[in-house]
């Protein structure tokens, strides 16, 4: 673990990614502590304030403190990203392992299902679902994790197939280990590397989709702060002030850039082979 972080730190792009990721994590996890104001506190008289010492990023169209809202937006982005990735990673991996061990017909069915899911334009699909069923955090997580299932499932299956007949597993089997023990104790830890890399590279994807849906007003319901809703509020009031748009766009860019660079460095550190696969 320490070796991996040292390797990431050793490359300039990896270092930048790591710094940005840590910064975003501090902002998101510490939102309650760092925020100078209640993110939903209105101050109409003080709307569209430019950045000042009192309001480091200015205020929005309702006079809410933008810096506090940006911090809570970070929290929303992380919450959605992490829960989506966890759901998708667990379900996708299980499906992949299942496919590798299942009879041929079941395996084929699972693979076709993966093909079908990845043939959908995920954003448009998510948009249709939330548009029809109404916005909600849970729905966003559910839909986006379904669209990511094939990523994890395909890699997990390929990894298991290459591992299945390895001598050490043969030995375990001869010693009488059950299939559940083989999978949980021996296979899962061995295939985790590439899956974790995939997970970290999917984080910016999820952040972008969440922000995009929220920007269109069908993602995170108000008054919850999200970078997407902040961007949308700012866009609607672009003639009054440019700061909300500038800061929300900047946060989104830094987050996606940070996680992308971090993910790439992690990939190169853990599993350089993946580089040609993607």
């Amino acid at each position: 673990m320490r070796g991996v972080i040292a390797q990431i730190w050793g490359r300039s792009t990896g270092r930048l990614g790591l710094i940005l990721v840590v910064l975003i994590l501090i902002m998101g996890l510490g939102a309650q502590v760092i925020s100078p104001y209640d993110p939903n506190e209105l101050d109409i008289l003080n709307r569209f304030s430019d950045p000042t010492w009192i309001h480091p990023m200015g205020t929005d169209h309702l006079g809410r403190d933008l810096f506090s809202r940006m911090l809570y937006g970070t929290q929303t982005a992380l919450l959605v990203a992490v829960s989506t990735i966890i759901v998708s990673l667990v379900v996708g991996t299980l499906m992949g392992i299942g496919a590798a061990y299942a009879p041929r017909e079941v395996e084929r069915a699972i693979l076709i299902l993966f093909d079908i899911i990845s043939s959908f334009p995920s954003l448009v699909f998510a948009l249709a679902v939330v548009a029809l069923l109404g916005p909600g955090l849970g729905k966003v997580v559910l839909i986006v994790s379904i669209t990511l299932l094939p990523h994890f499932g395909r890699v997990a299956r390929a990894q298991v197939l290459s591992l299945k007949n390895a001598p050490f597993l043969e030995a375990e089997r001869v010693l009488g280990a059950s299939r559940a023990r083989l999978v949980l104790v021996h296979i899962v830890p061995n295939i985790m590397g590439p899956l974790v890399v995939l997970a970290s590279m999917d984080i910016p994807v999820v952040i972008t989709i969440e922000a995009g849906l929220s920007f269109l007003g069908v993602g995170v319901p108000p008054p919850l702060a999200s970078w997407g809703t902040l961007l949308n509020d700012g866009y609607a009031n672009l003639t009054e002030t440019i700061w909300p748009v500038a800061f929300a766009g900047l946060m989104l860019t830094l987050a996606t850039l940070g996680f992308t660079l971090f993910g790439e460095a992690l990939r190169d550190a853990i599993d350089p082979k993946l580089k040609t696969d993607r």
């Binding site: 792009t13 076709i112 093909d115 079908i116 043939s119 959908f120 334009p121 995920s122 954003l123 448009v124 699909f125 948009l127 249709a128 679902v129 548009a131 029809l132 069923l133 109404g134 910016p204 972008t208 922000a211 995009g212 920007f215 269109l216 007003g217 069908v218 961007l231 866009y235 672009l238 440019i242 748009v245 500038a246 766009g249 989104l252 860019t253 996606t256 850039l257 996680f259 992308t260 660079l261 790439e264």
Partner: protein, 323 residues
Amino acid sequence: MPASLRFLANRLLTTILVIVGAVALLFCLTLLVPGNPADVLLGPRATPEAVAAFSKQMGLDLPVWRRLAIFFGNVLQGNLGTDVISGRPILTMVMEVLPFTVTLTFASIGLAILVGLPLGAYAATHPDSIGDRIGAVFSVSFIAMPNFVVAIFLLLIFSIWLDWLPVLGAGEPGNYLDQLVRLILPSVSLALGWVGYIARLVRSSLLEVMGEPYIRTARAYGVSDTKIIYKYALKNAAIPTVAILGLGIGRLLGGAIFAEIIFARPGIGKLVYDAILTRNYPVVQAGVLVVVLLFVLTNLLVDMSYGWLDPRMRQSARAGGGH
């Protein structure tokens, strides 16, 4: 059956499954919409008689499986229903705006290839030079940046601060120059990320191809570097790029929604978005269906174009009597 034919058959099967799945899914989603669709569409002041009549007219009183069958039949005949608000066929509405979205998508892809390909070729022929490194930083930044952020920033910089380019709309009909000018910002906002993608991809696959024996042979025969790169290497390096473009079209269609909304351009994205705001579900359904169709069919086309790019696949297909 040769492998390539089996591959094509497989792809066709998946394509059909995806389309059937999409139609069924969109139908099922409307079942889950909270409240009676007739109430939602007619509004709170509709009389019970009006709601009942409307339900009958839309076939809402039929059992679910009959409605699904009717929906399938209608879609197969290209009947996407009638818009309740304007009373016009939805297919006509979609067809009216489709050219704008297609133009935007192709303009973006074209722009991305036009800029990304030479950048990637330059980076591959000058590895680790300053240009290569600067290019790499820009590539990764543009790939990481969500395209709606790029769009809003472009709008901010070029229309509001510098006041160089007109912002909104698609331009007057018939005035091609005006239309072209108004296409610039939206297509750049979509293309920028793909410039980065393509440059990176072309760079890495070109570097790989340049190490192949046939390139070494060509070089030993004294063929010029330019000719080697543009005539031999690039063609093979293009195969992974084409694969990415297939995925790209889908993402671009998704991105086009944002570009259309932000720059107030007519298009499928704008149509769907406006329909979401007015809870005009049949239009949402139809718009999404058309986008899925476009996406799936382009992916199929891209997969088939491998054969043209990679003669090894074409050969095996011809040997099997296909193509």
